[in-house]
């Protein structure tokens, strides 16, 4: 019988298959983030145009598409996991494929930001001394570091969303809300403590001293830890 002897496809093909399966949701995964990016850049340009004076004008709005990657991480789990199970994909294959998707998306986002930064550098901040992607701190240690910084931020946020959605799948809404509240509290208390103790100056100097590259590398380690947590949670998750 032919069916009995058909060898299962190698692992890697099935992982790449997961990336393609994820990309069925083209609108959520490709067009919405690009639209958010275009919108953020347009709004930033208007704000830059409105700010009077010749000083460097840094506008933070352009990081909005990065935050959208939390939503993307969530969707990559909730929209695709049940179907991947019907396609007889193992949880490991789903995890690696989904992470791969996050990395590809992160690389594309980082590249777009670098192109944007290039335009800013060449046009002297859109002829208005504006800074959307060409942030001084990030580009201090060079363009490669800056690319890695954008990449890390994107993938980190993607993994946060991925893990949150996996916790939701496995443990339910209450667990996700509890963790979010706990995290929110921790961050608020930290900000409160830093403000109260007047530590903002040392904290900012510390970041400046450590440099963008080391902060980025720290972010990569954090991403890896969160990814491991996601995998551990996913291993026992059910549809």
């Amino acid at each position: 019988m032919t069916t009995a002897t058909a060898a299962p496809r190698p692992h890697t093909n099935r992982m790449l298959g997961v990336v393609r399966l994820q990309l069925i949701n083209t609108q959520s995964l490709v067009w919405v983030p690009l639209l958010v990016l275009a919108g953020a850049v347009a709004i930033s340009l208007i704000i830059i145009g409105l700010i009077p004076g010749d000083d460097v004008k840094i506008v933070g709005a352009a990081n909005a598409p990065l935050w959208y990657f939390v939503a993307l991480g969530v969707q990559s789990m909730t929209l695709a996991f049940p179907f991947s199970q019907a396609m007889s994909v193992t949880r490991r294959e789903f995890f690696v494929g989904t992470l791969l998707l996050g990395a590809i998306a992160g690389a594309m986002m980082a590249s777009i930001y670098l192109v944007l930064a290039g335009i800013e550098a060449l046009t002297d901040g859109f002829w208005m001394n504006g800074r959307i992607a060409y942030l001084p701190y990030l580009f201090e240690s060079g363009w490669v570091t800056a690319w890695l910084g954008y990449f890390t931020a994107t993938v980190l946020l993607f993994v946060v969303g991925f893990w949150m959605a996996t916790i939701w799948k496995r443990f339910g809404t209450l667990a996700v809300v509890s963790i979010s509240v706990a995290l929110g509290l921790a961050i608020t208390i930290a900000i409160f403590a830093i403000t109260k103790m007047e530590w903002w100056v040392p904290v900012i100097t510390w970041f400046a001293d450590v440099g963008a590259l080391n902060v980025t590398l720290g972010g990569l380690v954090l991403t890896a830890v969160l990814a491991l947590g996601t995998y551990a949670t996913l291993r026992r998750a059910t549809v």
Partner: protein, 300 residues
Amino acid sequence: MDSVIQVRDLTKTYKNTSALDGISFDIERNTIYGLLGRNGAGKTTAMSILTAQNFATSGSVRVFGEDPYENPRVLSRLCFVRESQKYPDEATARTAFRSAAMFFPNWDQELCERLIGEFQVPLKTVIKKLSRGQLSAVGVIIGIASRAEITFFDEPYLGLDAVARQIFYDRLLEDYAEHPRTVILSSHLIDEISHLIEHVIVIDGGRIIMDQSAEETRDRATNVVGDAETVDALVAGREVLHRESLGRVASVTFLGTLTPDERRRVEASGLELAPVPLQQLIVRLTQHHQNANDTEGALR
């Protein structure tokens, strides 16, 4: 015997309720199984544990001799599309079939195209917007065209009209004849699938109450109709599944068959004997099992 699935003492407990209560069974290669039972009997739970979509509380599951959990060697040979299968939000039937072609090594695109035409599945509408019947058809097409060595169909007929259901039964049998494989079909419409299935497993309340070949089920029970007193005398001492009476006529279904000698005497005394259709048998057995459980529960 050549079993492709071996289940031993499988238990699944959700918080306080037990979905599967220590079941054991084997599934033989290249056979069509009917996995029957009421809603909530544990059919979907059993199938999802066999395909590693869900986890057992205790007990063991072997598929092709291995644990299916996180095992691409085993899983790539299985296909299980749930009755309540969720598809990616933006997926159309076309994109769903494309994915299936990617993941199932024996996928037959030609067969898929033919089934799309027969079930009249719209290819460009997102699956979210399909009717219940069309949604079922998508799952059925993936199940048949994947030609997985073990294919599970979980109430595949929901929302399908009579014509579409017949297409499903016909195509499944045709393709099964050409490409033998193991099929596990869960269903409520027992009469409709009774001619398809070669082996019957009935689950009730998380336990297996019947596990035998379709042929054996024919000898499992007998129905006798006639004068109430004569009928009652005949069935005295036998395990009665069901009794109905109208005036002086009684119809009784009991477990087991009669010897040729008994048969002659029964016919001479003017009683009528009839085989029990599979659906009747299962309904009666299930009711009997539940009554026995209730009594057992009351005695405890």
